[in-house]
Subunit: 468 residues, 2 copies
């Protein structure tokens, strides 16, 4: 699937498993007022800046055999793939029983265990009465196109506690010391099919002073970022999740919601109570249905993902060369959020979505999801009954349809097609118990707290807010 | 510590480790208007009813050797104590490293693993314009005084999915089918030092019809329940946690709070990020510092708790006789909530309290806690610096000081002294980073969600609401 060498940079990707869909120019312009340097500027200004950052941050990513990893080894006792410091992350085994110990045997799989909580922080500042956000053009080895727009700070704890021995992380002090007004500070989970109980600290801190704008950084208005969300593979996953947690521009109002917030959280409680799924960490050597070769750990049916090793050369980064394991999905994922207007108020159809790596069994996900190469073990009742509805919608119902990347530091060329579509007003409000109608304002209220809205749904919340 | 036989019933306890403090008469009267049978009635009426329920529900609880347990065995491979069906709960081992893998070795201990989510449900109904709650006089083998006032329904999933093969659980259908207005429906955690990631579903459902009031059940107004919270060991833990989750009688208002709710949740996020504690399940045979005899598993320093086995004869219960393991704390616990008025608004001084069995490392706890026989491994920075403040307060500062029981189905004669005390207005608002000032309204807002406010703090929220 992934072979040989991939060279990052704007639109110069080769060797991925999907046709390159990124970087094909603006679809919606970014054209707010600008009055000083280092703000997003016109489309043309942004594109020139971004192309330059991509050139400067060019990196070379090469797949290598596991034996060529430096500092990483398979633990002799468990077969887990770990760093010799015990930090960063490890690849372990997980045994999942979708119906609990009394049910069918379920399946097992590798999973990334990264217990440290990192910081995804965006710095905010008001210029000329308009709030701006400082984003970074950042390269990651798994990124489609090499460079994507990232939060001001995107740092693992190993990063900033100096396990890397690299340079200091720019702007980090604003988040660790919470200098300024904290607009967002909440732990949010990441991919429950690939990560074991992983979450990061999503932060937005607003300052009054004028911090220096270093290379690779640029101020953007919310409107400008939202316009860029209409391009494929440009605004990275970490930026999308932080944006989704921003307080609503208009205070939420329960008036007109089909269900009260107490009913929505009660539905969520009910779903957790019913869910009997268990997920137990097991030695990586103990998983079945996967085989390890010198270059990959892959499912025998070729379906889901592969664990691979890469060698990265990134002359511009603090650590200019390293090797690491990555998780490479075998196909593009899909996440679709359907909505309809009920009593004049838009309502998203959301799902209580069990995922094996969730800290607490399930979170609120989109109406329809397809994780790459859905494993055969997935019980029928975990599949979305609304997949057919999505497929049968006429094109004029599709409000958003873009391919976005998942996190490029752990996932290699992981793309998901994100879709937002409007249902007819005669679409039944009665839905299976795993589903619920929630207003955008209710989702925003839940986003003030951890472990309600999953990463795919958070991307879709951010994208929905980009629909004018 | 616990020897021989204990006979339940009102005030007839023997063989416990603490002087019996319960059932010594009313301190605050329960004297609302009553217009029909089966409501709480006057103090005298309540006392007569409750004494009769205690007599009818008398049970005999006897400590037995593990070998006399029926259906329970030590797993030959792990030494875990489990039921042959794999249901109910098991006693496993936990290895805790308070500073994570890189820190000191930490400690290990037994812990109760009960993954099923049970229902703690209180039925509500309005009579003559006043909301009433249906409580049950329920015996549990570990209860001080045998019978305590419990929620309408207190059922493990094994209870109501018929693993017990007992009779049906009264009123359960109101909660499983959510018949009526759902006022509360949220998962809340239980004792993080004794339970592994345990939580129950806290529910209040209001009905309009007039359900039959069976033996052992009685309607109470909130004022009546609050008056009974001024007696020792009467309102059980399960009732207290559900009551703490009731929506506030007056909508919360952030006005006057020292910190916004975003700041309070941000403080909580920060505390989680800093906490490096890990807790890993290990075989029970693999724990150190504990010894197993034919009758108990006890810490070698005699400090914390013992795992024992009991034989229960309860002629009035659905299952009239059974044996089970229990956890018996070695001393009385302490949980104290200090508050002061800031700008005219009361603020509780709460703590981000790491506990080994927490689903997510820590929750918000009282200002001061002392778990029975605090183990030597507890690092200094996990102890409350406000213990001395509490000890030095003059008696007129103590607003609440009662002994209440922890859950009697798993814990044997587990008592905690709950204290609420007011600090002077010159008490510094600057507190160590592990602590934060939060208003009662803010805690109520957080109680709409899971895993914020721990069980000891929830009891104190319920008790604080009982202070007129």
């Amino acid at each position: 699937m992934v072979n040989g060498t991939r060279t990052g940079g704007h639109g110069t990707r080769s060797g991925g498993n999907e046709p390159c869909t990124g970087g094909d120019g603006p679809r919606a312009g970014a054209n707010g007022p600008r009055t000083s340097a280092n703000r997003a500027g016109t489309d043309a200004g942004f594109d020139a800046w971004f192309a330059e950052r991509a050139r400067v941050n060019e990196q070379r990513v090469e797949t290598i055999p596991f034996s060529a990893l430096s500092g990483w080894d398979f633990d002799p006792a468990t077969g887990d793939l770990r760093h010799h410091t015990g930090r960063f992350f490890s690849v372990r085994g997980l045994h999942v029983r979708p119906a609990g110990p009394g049910g069918p045997p379920g399946w097992s799989q590798p999973i990334i265990d990264q217990p440290e909580i990192g910081v995804l922080g965006i710095l905010a500042r008001t210029f000329d009465g308009v709030r701006h956000f400082l984003l970074q053009a950042k390269a990651e080895p798994g990124n489609i196109n090499g460079v994507q727009l990232s939060p001001t700070v995107q740092a693992t704890r190993s990063n900033y506690t100096r396990v890397h021995r690299g340079g200091s992380v720019r702007y980090l002090e604003h988040f660790t010391d919470r200098r300024g007004r904290v607009l967002v500070d909440v732990l949010q989970s990441e991919q429950g099919s690939w990560f074991l109980r992983k979450r990061n600290r999503n932060m937005v801190v607003e300052v009054d002073d004028d911090p220096p704008v270093h290379d690779d950084f640029r101020w953007f208005t919310l409107d400008e970022i939202r316009a860029l969300l209409h391009r494929d593979n440009l605004v990275n996953m970490d930026a999308r999740t932080v944006l989704s947690c921003l307080p609503p521009e208009h205070p939420a109002d329960e008036h007109g919601a089909l269900h009260s917030l107490t009913e929505v959280t009660g539905w969520f409680t009910e779903a957790k109570t019913r869910c009997e799924m268990t997920a137990e960490v097991v030695p990586l050597t103990g998983i079945t249905g996967w085989r390890r070769t010198p270059t990959e750990i892959a499912s025998e049916d070729g379906g889901r993902f592969r664990v691979i090793a890469v060698d990265v050369t990134a002359p511009h980064r603090e650590v200019p060369a390293w090797t690491q394991p990555m998780l490479a999905p075998c196909a593009q994922g899909l996440a679709a959020l359907l909505y309809r207007t009920i009593g004049g108020v838009p309502h998203f159809l959301v799902q209580a979505q069990a995922q094996e790596g969730c800290l607490d069994k399930l979170e609120i996900g989109p109406t329809v999801t397809r994780v790459p190469g859905e494993h055969g073990g997935l019980p029928a009742d975990m599949r979305s009954p609304f997949r057919d509805v999505l497929d049968s919608l006429s094109p004029d119902r599709i409000r958003y349809d873009r391919v976005q990347s998942e996190e490029g530091g752990r996932f290699f060329a992981a793309e998901t097609r994100y879709v937002i579509a409007e249902l007819d007003e005669d679409f039944p409000t009665e839905v299976p118990s795993r589903f619920c109608w929630a207003t955008p304002g209710q989702l925003k209220e839940l986003l003030r707290h951890s472990h309600y809205v999953n990463i795919e749904a958070r991307t879709l919340v951010a994208c929905a807010e980009a629909l004018a």
